[in-house]
Symmetry: C2
Subunit: 415 residues, 2 copies
């Protein structure tokens, strides 16, 4: 097993070779990697079975075991994902803003690989395949550090990819897995300055927090979403009901699901009973402030902590507000800056909401559930950034690259 | 004196007010702030005199006292800088990549303020004024934390700005100075998650290192430049001499000055004696490897550490290499990723250098000294990023902003 230091050195050597790959070479690797997953389904399932057995023995909860579990369909999904990435345009090499300065220097910004990307993630073995595919296409070497629950699955998948890469005559260190899943290796990875150019954590709030507290390498913070839907006085009630039901209940376990519903006091008497009925039909538990409680029938009183909680479950906090300003204040106070939506027919209020809400994605009359690289047409997604540096919102291939200035001169010196 | 916590709370309140300013309002504040500097030259000079006296008493070295010192010309330069920023186009509000998806959602990325920007810097009081101007124009509140040597100058300048802002009816917390210059406040500032959206250190390698090690807020690493000039076999010798003399000696104390000269072995016999003579005329000390030493006459033998040192002085390390590959290897090993130049008439070598050198700015046949926001036509500069996230190379107004997705729907929900 390589040490963290050896892994870093190998990645730095690999990144220089990888940056020279043509688009065709990268696509060939991706297609071969997809084929290798398909050719080795049984081997992957056997490894995954070990992980599941271990997980059950350690008493891990069923939802986590579900995320950990692979089957034929999920492995086909991983292979298909790699092929989809092969079909995406190559982001590398584009030159933007090229111009000639008065002194004759020609200056442009060229899109180039990051170099080495680190990904820390939890139980889902499909992240192993997705992250490899995106980082390879983006021209970067990748160091993966998955959760200990998925170590057998991850090792098997990464070894298949490394074998493919070697067999094609390239450096298998284009992708490396940190096989020691102790907390120490995770912390060491967060401090690999000089080796890792960017570290992206994918997982729950605890993982994200740990990375932010411990990392000294540049990090892109992803994923925590305490998302709000605000139903304005002038909202179309049918649209508003459909949007809050979709935003809350279509898939409650994901970061772009809504957690709090804010309702203008003048529409609450008509809107809230209908919304509550539709949400209860989806088994959503409502936690309401005093005013909202009057319109929704039996419900749980909302506490201060409910406003700040990402439930990731069939639970919705509900509050009636006096006006748009109060809604904006509430969002400014409690939002994690992921996705918020207004439902309104009032032009000025829609524009104010778009302008004043400081989140990665701000919606008018649509569900927050659209905050997703595939939905936005990126073709693939490595995660959703909730920070303001480098990338904000869904991150596709372009967000996994950087730029450098290239300058063509003919002997210019500075006066 | 406000605590760090109070400063953060005040900045978060101010950022929401500031984000609503029109371009005209921001420009009016900048013009008034410039006028206030001009109207209070004597007050600023008096405060600066205290700083200089204190600095001399604590035995601070002359170069630092020079950086600390203000005079009429430097104060006029600060005022003029604010007026220049007022004249620059406002980066806020631009919408890029707007498109309508198949489901009818219209999605675009809107350029918006960061929110709260933190700047940690050292002795130069003019950074106080420059950083305020750029952050204000970029729509963000700014928390400044200058060096203790300049505390009287900085306090005076910031109070003038705050008075201007208040007198115009705005929130004076658009700009705040942390007046307690202890190490504790600097560390606390680096950990103001939830308050500071990005922290930019401006100063020497020690400050940058401390921020990288301690910060939990997103950071843009700036400024350390171990820059290389490579003179290829086919170089035009006159151009090559002019470029290395300019890159090394035009202003050796700055980050884009060259620190190592690499020379192809076949051009070394003719080029190096001429280059050495021209460099010595500028009082540059040469530290050479064995081969280079043969051509430059009397010189100091280069040690391993010379290749890795940002001298920021009239010192140049010189090495003869066998070919472009060896030059690229040397740069990959020792460069800090700031600026590197090739001098060559060979097309393929120029393209390889541009492609393979992984630095913020890569030059063909020009001096590294051009890596600068003003030279690149940005009109102003907050620093030079040597990291790959968010901004790479000189950072102007645009790099002080972020984007958010805005999405216009008409009731869309996710299937």
């Amino acid at each position: 097993m390589k040490t963290i230091q050896e892994t870093g050195v190998a990645a730095v050597a690999a990144k220089r070779r990888q940056a020279k790959l043509t688009t065709e070479e990268k696509n060939n690797i991706l297609m071969s990697a997809a084929q290798s997953l398909r050719n080795n389904v049984q081997m992957i399932l056997d490894a995954n079975k070990k992980d599941i057995t271990n997980a059950k023995e350690s008493g891990i909860k069923p939802s986590l075991i579900d995320r950990l579990t692979l089957d034929d369909g999920r492995i086909e999904g991983m292979a298909d994902g790699l092929e989809q990435v092969a079909k995406l345009p190559d982001p590398i090499g584009e030159v933007i803003n090229m111009k000639t300065l008065p002194n004759g220097l020609t200056v442009g910004q060229k899109r180039v690989p990051m170099g080495v990307i680190g990904i820390i993630y939890e139980a889902r073995p499909n992240v192993t395949s997705d992250a490899f595919g995106l980082c390879l296409k983006a021209g970067s070497a990748v160091i993966l550090r998955g959760g200990k629950e998925a170590i057998n699955s991850n090792t098997t998948v990464v070894n298949l990819f490394r074998d493919v890469i070697s067999s094609m005559g390239y450096d298998s260190n284009f992708v490396q897995l940190i096989e020691d899943t102790s907390r120490e290796t995770a912390t060491a990875m967060m401090r690999m300055n000089g080796y890792i150019d960017v570290l992206i954590p994918r997982g729950g709030a605890g993982l994200i927090r740990s990375v932010i507290q411990n990392a000294t390498v540049p990090v892109i913070e992803t994923g925590v979403g305490n998302c709000h839907v605000y139903v304005d006085e002038s909202a179309d009630i049918d649209k508003a009901v459909a949007i809050i039901v979709n935003a809350k209940a279509q898939r409650p376990s994901v970061c772009n699901a809504a957690e709090t519903l804010l309702v203008h006091k003048n529409i609450a008497p008509e809107f809230l009973p209908k919304a509550a009925a539709a949400l209860r039909e989806k088994n959503v538990e409502l936690r309401c402030d005093d005013v909202a409680a009057k319109y929704v029938g039996e419900c749980i009183p909302a506490t201060e902590s409910d406003w700040a909680t990402e439930f990731l479950d069939y639970i919705l906090a509900v509050k009636v507000v006096n006006d748009l300003d109060e809604a904006l204040e509430h969002i400014a106070l409690y939002s994690t800056g992921h996705s918020e939506a207004i439902v309104s027919e009032n032009y000025t209020n829609c524009q104010r909401f778009l302008n004043e809400v400081d989140s990665a994605a701000v919606y008018v009359n649509a569900s927050t559930r659209f905050t997703d690289g595939n939905e936005f047409g990126f073709g693939a997604e490595i995660g959703i950034s909730t920070q303001k540096l480098h990338a904000r919102g869904p991150m596709g291939l372009k967000e996994l690259t950087t730029t450098k200035y290239i300058i063509y001169g003919n002997g210019q010196i500075r006066k």
